[in-house]
Symmetry: C2
Subunit: 347 residues, 2 copies
Amino acid sequence: MENEEQKRTNVNDLGEFGLIDHLTFEAIIKQPSTIMGVGDDAAVIDTGDFFTLVSTDMLVEGIHFDLMYTPLKHLGYKAVIVNLSDIYAMNGVPTQITVSIAMSNRFSVEALEELYSGIHLACDLYNVDLVGGDTTSSQKGLIISVTALGQVDKASVSYRRGAKEGDIVCVTGSLGGSYLGLQVLEREKQIYREHPELQPELTGHEYMIGRLLKPEARRDAIAYFESNNIVPTSMIDVSDGLSSELFHLAKQSGVGFVIEEDMVPIHIDAKKLAIDFGIDPITCALHGGEDYELLFTIAEKDLEAIRMMPDVAIIGEVVNRTGGLHLKTSSGNLHALTAQGWTHFGQ
Amino acid sequence: MENEEQKRTNVNDLGEFGLIDHLTFEAIIKQPSTIMGVGDDAAVIDTGDFFTLVSTDMLVEGIHFDLMYTPLKHLGYKAVIVNLSDIYAMNGVPTQITVSIAMSNRFSVEALEELYSGIHLACDLYNVDLVGGDTTSSQKGLIISVTALGQVDKASVSYRRGAKEGDIVCVTGSLGGSYLGLQVLEREKQIYREHPELQPELTGHEYMIGRLLKPEARRDAIAYFESNNIVPTSMIDVSDGLSSELFHLAKQSGVGFVIEEDMVPIHIDAKKLAIDFGIDPITCALHGGEDYELLFTIAEKDLEAIRMMPDVAIIGEVVNRTGGLHLKTSSGNLHALTAQGWTHFGQ
């Protein structure tokens, strides 16, 4: 195309977030019902009695998943989960999804049925209705685009921008597992290519592989908040690594963070595997993506209720923005955090 | 993949609509807020004071568009318009969109800016907010997925299922132009390939090419309905050709149609061009896609108001389902209609 030849900036030069900021900068909000547009886990729309939440994600074969080790049913399930996670990250409850799929003619109807069986299963387990979509051809590979809708009470919505100095930083579940699951599967893929007669060695790695291939969204956290009258002052789902998500909260809330290294939750199997791979486990937690846990901040008044919350870790505190973003090691040293989550353009 | 080898049904065997029906058959509606799921131009969700409408469409390079003759700005514009058209087809007003884009590294930031300039222009002209999205890599080509949200008064929503015997059939604008625009551009593409020194011959075909590359959605029709207190008894947008859309209305309303051939609106330039191509103009109107006009039925009581409506044609009447779907020629003969709209899997 001619316009490509005039001036050419490579998309890698901007990075994913820079690119989205750049392209949506011109988006002027005109509808009074638009409470929050681009820039949070989901858009927020005023529909009268409550806010409606909208989140969308596209998964592309060869970029976001590898069908060599991703069963189609799991892929369908995960495509739904990653969008539901964005709705929960606003402290909302997902209600409907639409699913659009483009696939090349190497896929059969039976393969599509497998994919949809995972989509239907996720809808069923998370009480969400599949209300629309589109199935079409692609020139190459499989592309899945899911949009999730949800709702939240107007007084309960949690944005990325509400963290305040003195708030407590928490995260659900454990981090880094999904990244390590990916490393195992990539290693076995390489071995299989060189020695197709060998069986893959996955024993002992079930937890990490499960985290990658069949993640769950933290509806239990949102239910706990509701029944305990807690509204997180800020919240985001951990899709690109803890460090990257902390940067989002810091930027939008205008605060800094101090995270205690020893408090960052890492599963024991993940720790062992990280060491086998020669990676510091904390690096996996900080920079490994696709955990789909919830990172949130709470006001000090809610601390007692959070201490009773199952499967959550208190990992640090919100400080003044001049404090920056730091990891405090067990020896008491402060290390500046960097955002280097998975950027899909960098691959 | 192993599961593809067990039993293989080609997606072409089912066709697009058959495939979507097949895959979404299991979708059980559990949320009380879901009023209409799959099966209309948009899903309908009860959000309290009014219904929220949700529609989604995916456009794939090489399947839905050809960048050899589609400027990126036009493509961005059209990707929005086709989704807004679905919201209007429910008698609603679009309010927000999300846009997800996957593109290969052959696209520069400048190319993406062109695409987004068309997206922003459509948002601006149709008073719609861009509230979310995603930009990622693809292995090949450009894929655009748009989701549109809108709203409609609960008493004013028009489904495909409401046409009744004795109702009057109407269509806005004119039909077949977009299909003919595509034929012109495909012809010139072939000539260019064989004789790259020749200039494309597009003079006189501006109307048809404009219909293909920069369609508009019929917001004016919805505004007219509102100001004249008309609620169409059924409505659908003409994306796959008049005949295909009549089949949808007939199937979902449980009725038949008699369409008067002479009343089907075809632009004079389109008629001439069809004849040049050796195609009967009515065939273009019946089976050519992407006109994005509105096909609707009204109760007889609204006939006088519709006669005053600008740019609309009364093309026939709703009959008993036993009457089937027929085209009545000027000589009074009845021809059975067939649904053979553009099926993207058939290409």
